[in-house]
């Protein structure tokens, strides 16, 4: 599973990254977590607001910071679909 946090480096993006890290650890799913800071790549996902959360290429959240429990739900439902 590939999880990406999209954001140019503002405080919100860092927080989302922390929540995502916690969620990955809690979920126990094997996932690579990367932070995407290059504007060109961020924009290619079509989001209008940062920060953005992408799981396996699909945007699951944008413009808000879902907390770890919610991200765990997203991860497990994505894993179930895989």
């Amino acid at each position: 599973m590939e999880i990406k946090v999209l954001g140019p480096g503002c405080a919100n993006c860092k927080r989302l990254f922390q929540e995502a890290e916690r969620a990955v650890a809690q979920s126990g799913v094997a996932a690579t977590l990367t932070k995407v800071e290059s504007m060109g790549e961020i924009v290619s996902f079509g989001i209008l607001r940062t920060p953005g959360l992408v799981i396996d290429g699909k945007v699951v959240a944008s413009g808000r910071i879902p907390l770890a429990p919610e991200i765990v739900t997203m991860i497990t439902s994505a894993a179930a679909k895989a």
Partner: protein, 355 residues
């Protein structure tokens, strides 16, 4: 793909009783809020005079009472406003705004964009993805600029605070002139055909992916959005508010009465340009600027000058210009600042003349 977490579906009976419980909790919280709010003034006075032994007619006492009065008051107001804003915003998303604006003719588009900018959530860090997202999906450049001007400037938090502290007339004035500036700026930039001044790579970005479908939220989700907005807005803004109030307290306590009239008053023709020039490089949050505005007005500054200052601070922020440099050429940024700055200047003069 839904942008909100799916809630478990409840059978109707549970949904009704949980809605009732939520409604009761909300009413309780509002009552507590009211109690707190109306006890601030006597509390601030008591703390300053009886507990700290200061006189409110002395500079230090006046400053301290101002601070003790304003901090809880503004924070409480902020909490209420943030909640209402969060709920309102759940009805408007940038994605929906973009869909409404795409392909519109410039005049109606600019008006719509300015209006939507007021209620659509916007943070400076999102300026770039938002700009690119709008421009690459058929929203004209001028219309996008109308949105970019009105979104930070005619900020609901600022409006609500202005309303609470100065009454509906000042708030309506600010909103009306802010919207006019946004609309005119967008029209002017659109007419000037400055698309070539946008960084070339922007138009090369493929308008990505399917636009997410509209989700219609339930009221429990909207209230949750309100609570989350409170958490976000207040936690981001409160240091600025305290700093702004400290500055306001200093002005209130230590600046002689009518001092501001000497260089921010109506009879000084250069007060408006000066206010705008000072305001541009300063970045402040709308919530923090309002206490400063209040203190300045109390010391004799003219309303037009002060409003111009406030607009310049909020709408033309240096950090946002730096961020937008990624997508706009320096010339376009200069044009943007020039057009908006001129608008703000005119508004300032107009008010000083009329009021």
């Amino acid at each position: 793909m839904s942008l909100t977490a799916p809630l478990e579906s409840h059978p109707p009976r549970h949904a009704r009783s949980s809605a009732v419980r939520q409604g009761a909790a909300l009413t309780g919280v509002l009552a507590l809020w009211g109690l707190g709010y109306w006890s601030i003034s006597p509390a601030a006075e008591w703390l300053t005079t009886s507990v700290a032994g200061l006189s409110r007619h002395e500079p230090l006492g006046a400053a301290v009472e101002f601070f003790l009065f304003e901090v809880p008051k503004v924070l409480l107001l902020l909490t209420l406003v943030a909640f209402v804003v969060g709920v309102i915003r759940s009805f408007f998303t940038p994605e929906r705004t973009r869909r409404v604006l795409a392909g519109r003719r410039e005049t109606t588009g600019s008006i719509l964009a300015a209006l939507l900018g007021v209620v659509t959530p916007f943070c400076s860090c999102s300026a770039v993805p938002l700009f690119i997202g709008f421009v690459t999906t058929g929203v004209p450049l001028g219309v996008t600029f109308s949105f970019l001007v009105s979104a930070p400037m005619v900020n609901e938090v600022a409006l609500a605070l202005l309303f609470a502290l100065f009454g509906w007339r000042v708030a309506a004035l600010y909103a009306g002139t802010g919207l006019s500036i946004a609309i005119v700026a967008g029209l002017v930039i659109g007419r000037l055909r400055l698309e070539s001044w946008v960084e070339p790579w922007v138009y090369g970005v493929s308008a990505a992916g399917p636009i997410p479908a509209d989700e219609s939220l339930r009221w429990t989700q909207r209230i949750a959005a309100g609570r989350e907005a409170v958490r976000e807005i207040v936690s981001m803004v409160w240091p600025y508010v305290v700093a702004g109030i400290a500055v306001g307290a200093g002005i209130h306590g230590y600046v002689p009465q009518d001092f501001m009239a000497s260089f921010m008053g109506r009879d000084v023709w250069w007060s408006v340009p000066l206010a705008v020039l000072i305001g541009i490089p300063i970045y402040s949050n709308a919530a923090a600027i309002v206490p400063i505005v209040q203190a300045l007005l109390g010391k004799g500054a003219a309303l037009g000058t002060v409003l111009a200052f406030m607009m310049a601070v909020i709408a033309l922020s240096l950090p946002e210009m730096v961020i937008l440099r990624k997508v706009l050429s320096v010339r376009l940024i200069a044009a943007f600042v020039g057009v908006v700055g001129t608008g703000i200047l005119l508004v300032g003069y107009l008010f000083n003349l009329v009021l």
